[in-house]
Amino acid sequence: MTDILVLTDHDGAAPKKVATQLLTAARGLADDAAALLLGEGAQGAAEKVGAYGAATAYVCDAPEVDAHDTEPKTAALLAALEASGASVVLYPAEPFASDVVARAAARVGGGVIGDVSDLAREGEGIVATKQIFGGDMTSRCTVRPGLPAFLGVKPNAFAASEVGGSPADVVPLDVAFDERATRVRVVEVVEESSGGRPEMTEASMIVTGGRGLGDAEGFALIEELADALGAAVGASRAATDAGWYPHQHQIGQTGKTVAPQLYLGAGVSGAIQHRAGMQTSQRIIAINKDPEAPIFSIADLGVVGDLYKVIPPLIEEVRKRAS
C-alpha cells in the first residue's frame, strides 16, 4: 500500500523543480510514495518520476482538467487517494494547488498544514515545521492520527536528488466528472513576459525595489542587477501601490512570503509588514541612504548610500566576477 501521494506539478514533459523536491521529501518519509500528475502532457511527465523514487504514477489527462478550474483536479485527487490507499498528500505550497487540496480535505475530513519548511516522521505520524507570524515564531504541528493529512511544502525546502529508479508504472485514473467538477470554466490564460527571470517564490536570489527608487523607471535598474545575478525581482507595497511594478511581485504581509538564499533590498525601509514576508531569508543585503532605516537591523550586510550610485558599479562588479 502506498503511504504518500505527491501532487506532482509538471510542464507537459517533465516534473517541475518543486515537484522533484517533493518527491525527494516523500522518499525520506515513506517506503512507498506515488505521484499524481494531472492535465495535458501528464502521461509523458509521469514516466520521469521514477528517477526520483516514485514507483507508481497516477495520471489523469482528461480535457476537463485544463478546461475547468480546481474542481476536476480535486475529483482526480480524491480518485487517486482511493486508488492508492495513501493517507498523506504532499503538495506544493502555492495558491492554486492549495485550493485543490482544501476542497479534497473538506470532503474527506482531513487536516491541511501549509507553508511547511520541514517534515519528519515521528512514530506513526508526520510532524511539520513551519514559520508563523511572518517568521517571528516557529511552529511544529501535525494531523491527528487516523485522519488524512495534506501537507503543503514550500519551494526549496528540500533539495531534489535522483535515485536513478526505473520509469514509474503509469496508472490512468478513471475519473467521473459531474456537474460540480465543470462549473468553473477557464476562459483564457494570460502570461505576461517574465523577462526570463525565475519566479519569486522559487528563486534562490531576489532583488527588491522600494519607494526609494522614486519612479517606475527605477525598476529597470533593479531588473538589470537581478539579471546579472540570475535573481528574481521583488517589490515593496509602496512600489506596487504606486503602480511601478505588478502586484504579484509584492513581498510582505499582504504579498508573497519568500525565503531565498539572498534577499537584496534597495530603497526599501523594512517596515514590519514587509519584513513579515522576507525576514526568514538566509542572507539579507540592504542598500538605503538613511542610516536609521529599520531594514539595517536585520541585514547581514548594510550599505548606507544612494542606490542610484551603488547599483551601476555593482552590476559591473557582478558581471566581471561572474565571467
Binding site: 492554486f96 473538506a106 501549509g114 507570524f133 511544529r140 501535525t142 460540480r180 512570503t257 551601476p312
Partner: protein, 263 residues
Amino acid sequence: MRIICPVKRVPDTAAEKRMNEADWTVDRDASDPILNANDEWGIEEAMRIKERVDGTEVIALCMGPESAQQTIRKALSYGLDGAIQVTDDAVAGSDAAATARVLAAALAEEEFDLLIMGNQSSDARTTLVPAMLAELLDLPALTFVKHLEVDGERLLAHRETPNGHVAVETSAPAVVSVVEAINEPRYPSFKGIMAAKKKPLEVKDLAALGVDPASVGHAGSATQVLEVTPRPPRQAGAKVEDDGSGQAGATAIADWLAEQKLL
C-alpha cells in the same frame, strides 16, 4: 442581490504576539485586534456592486469572541447593511477546516448570491477557508481574484498567477476571494461610522446553528499544534558607509557575495 462578506478579527501585525502555552493559540488579548486588511478589499468590492446594482444588501459574517464586535462595527462603518456574529467558547482553537464548518453552518441559514472575502487572514495566513467554505456549501469558488466582473448571475474573474492571470467564468451563487491588486479600499465616512453603531447585528452560538461543539475548536480540529517557539531575532551584520561615488558600496557587496559563495 445579497452579498455576505466573511471578516476576521486579527491581532495587529505590528503588535507583539504571545501564545497561550496551554493550547498554543494566540493570546488574543495580548495585542490590539484589528479588522483583517484583506477583508477590507472584499468589503470594498461588495460595496462597489451595491452602488451599481439596485437593491443589493451587504452583510458581514464574523466568527470570533464577543469582543470582536468592535471589529464588526468597523466593518459596518464602510456602509454595510448588517452583520452576523458567531461566538461560542467552543470555537476557540479552530483550524481552517473547523472555521469553515462553523461559517458554513451559519451560511446554510442565509440566502446569498455571493460571498466575497479576503484571500487570507494576516494571522493564520492559510488561504484555505474560502475554498473549504465553497466545498462545504457545494458552491463554485473564484479565488485569488484581482479583477471581478458581475453581470447578473454571470461572474468573470481574473485569478492572479506569478506572471499574469487566468480568466475564469461561472455563475452565482459563488465564493470569491480577492487579492490586494483588486481595488483601493475607501476610508469609512463619519456618517458611516455613526451609522455602524445602529446597524443590525445578529449574534448566534453553536447551539443556535446546530453545530456539535466537539466537531469544532481544539477538539474538533484535524490539525494539532505541538509546540511554538519564538525565533531568535536576526542580528544586524556589517554596515558599510558608501564613499559617495557608489564604488565603495558596490565593492563591499560584491566582496561579500563572493565570500558567501554567491558569486
